[in-house]
Subunit: 309 residues, 2 copies
Amino acid sequence: MSSQQPLIAAIEAGGTKFVCGIGRGPHEILATHRIDTTTPEETLESVCRWFSKMKLEHGPFEAMGVGSFGPVDLNPKSESYGFITSTPKPGWQHTDVVTRLKHRFKVPVGFDTDVNAAVLGEYLWGAGQGIDPLVYITVGTGVGGGVLVNGQLLHGALHPEIGHLAVPPPVNSLAVQRDCQCPFHKSCVEGYVCGPSIAKRWGVRADTLPLEHPAWEEISDAMAHALMNICLTLSPKRIILGGGVMEQPQLIPLIRGKLMSHLNGYLLIPQLGKEIDQFVVSPGLGSRSGLLGSLALGRMALDQKITHS
Amino acid sequence: MSSQQPLIAAIEAGGTKFVCGIGRGPHEILATHRIDTTTPEETLESVCRWFSKMKLEHGPFEAMGVGSFGPVDLNPKSESYGFITSTPKPGWQHTDVVTRLKHRFKVPVGFDTDVNAAVLGEYLWGAGQGIDPLVYITVGTGVGGGVLVNGQLLHGALHPEIGHLAVPPPVNSLAVQRDCQCPFHKSCVEGYVCGPSIAKRWGVRADTLPLEHPAWEEISDAMAHALMNICLTLSPKRIILGGGVMEQPQLIPLIRGKLMSHLNGYLLIPQLGKEIDQFVVSPGLGSRSGLLGSLALGRMALDQKITHS
């Protein structure tokens, strides 16, 4: 029964806002709260104050889970484990998140990237239930991806950074290298498709571009190349596409078509043929993937494994 | 002790040759034998005859392991499990390998891609001992890659097919799409760097190109983009580069330099800085990665897990 699950404090820590929640599972969220991301000191203090208040209202929580913007240090043996590390976000470089929460609330703290939290949420309760390998990609202010493979979230040397996949220039892109807006790379998917890149390239916000605008062809072309490269490396059984830019309803069908056309019949699997509509999908949890996944990270910090309930 | 390990029949099944071996581990290979790849019937019958002879000489083996060219079906629930499936190799489409060996020798048969076998061999006994995630890439007649992650070989919807990663055109490549020799894709790494692609593009065999030839810049550029994309998806802790083309001694240092230059400081990890020489490396088992990995697949078929000894 849901009410027998432990009470967990969940934080989806983003570069624009921190979304906090307290609850026991997807059907039992007792309260949520949004805090603007300002300085680390101010933001994390607001987070702690809200959870202290929740403790008084709902009783003690048994663990916390944090899905954070990054890059983050996920190596438990590292001195900077639980830190946001080399982020371009001003003021947030080398910010210790986990130690602060542990000291304040004296409970286990689960910690991972925001997108690994989202893929975990979707795996447990959303559009990827029980599907392994599973990939979740968000396209918004930036592009990021979380990966669950062989029963665990993927970390490795760092963690996936799918937004910076190098891809061939989109078709019809006449002045290609000028158009990739990434400060690091000459031709990466984030540089072509994230919100600020679209705005800089076309002079208007993505959600104001009409359906027939050539931008969508370029965006779906670059996204399809990113998905192609994900298929060729991670061999996922499903890819979930979330984030603000992906809310344009024409995009997922365009990306499915271009993914098949880019691969050109090379991978003969149903997922890239008659089952493509179940292979590239929208999130099942809408905008709650990250928060619910963070709650699951808190559960995992209690029992150290992925459990569905 | 090595002599307490079970006797295993190992087959590295390639498009040019099948390499067979019988033994207990890397330091106890009793015999090996090379068979040219002709028709499935003739090749597999030669393989079976050799192992029957080995049984008489060395006693019964307890399991067989096969690392095969592909694509192959690795889904134990599929009707075509253990088959070579949609390979372009004439005559080999839809060839049942596992059932034939099981019927003939009545022992468990482990089965995976040749490159997954190679990554397993390198993980157990070679240049990637205990390193997870670990990637092995071969560059020769084709380009392929095997992946070990979270303690298991990566399968997923199919299996990794790293050779066909879409990458930006190599620098200095003036007539890019003409130069990618892949029959499926307009800009993939195999189409730029495999042996036949090099021969077609430059008119001579790779091993006859002088050190200062511009081909090496293009080859290392495309390979570095492939490695970049592998870092951004699989986040490996080491990448092993094997195969005939990689025997050119100048290539690995060139690829290391271009990998760091393509990533341009985005992933701040020691593997992509001062530890780059331990991150992109040659195989520790030389040309035996695939055969020894196939032996390990045989062991796994006996005990269903990866065991080091």
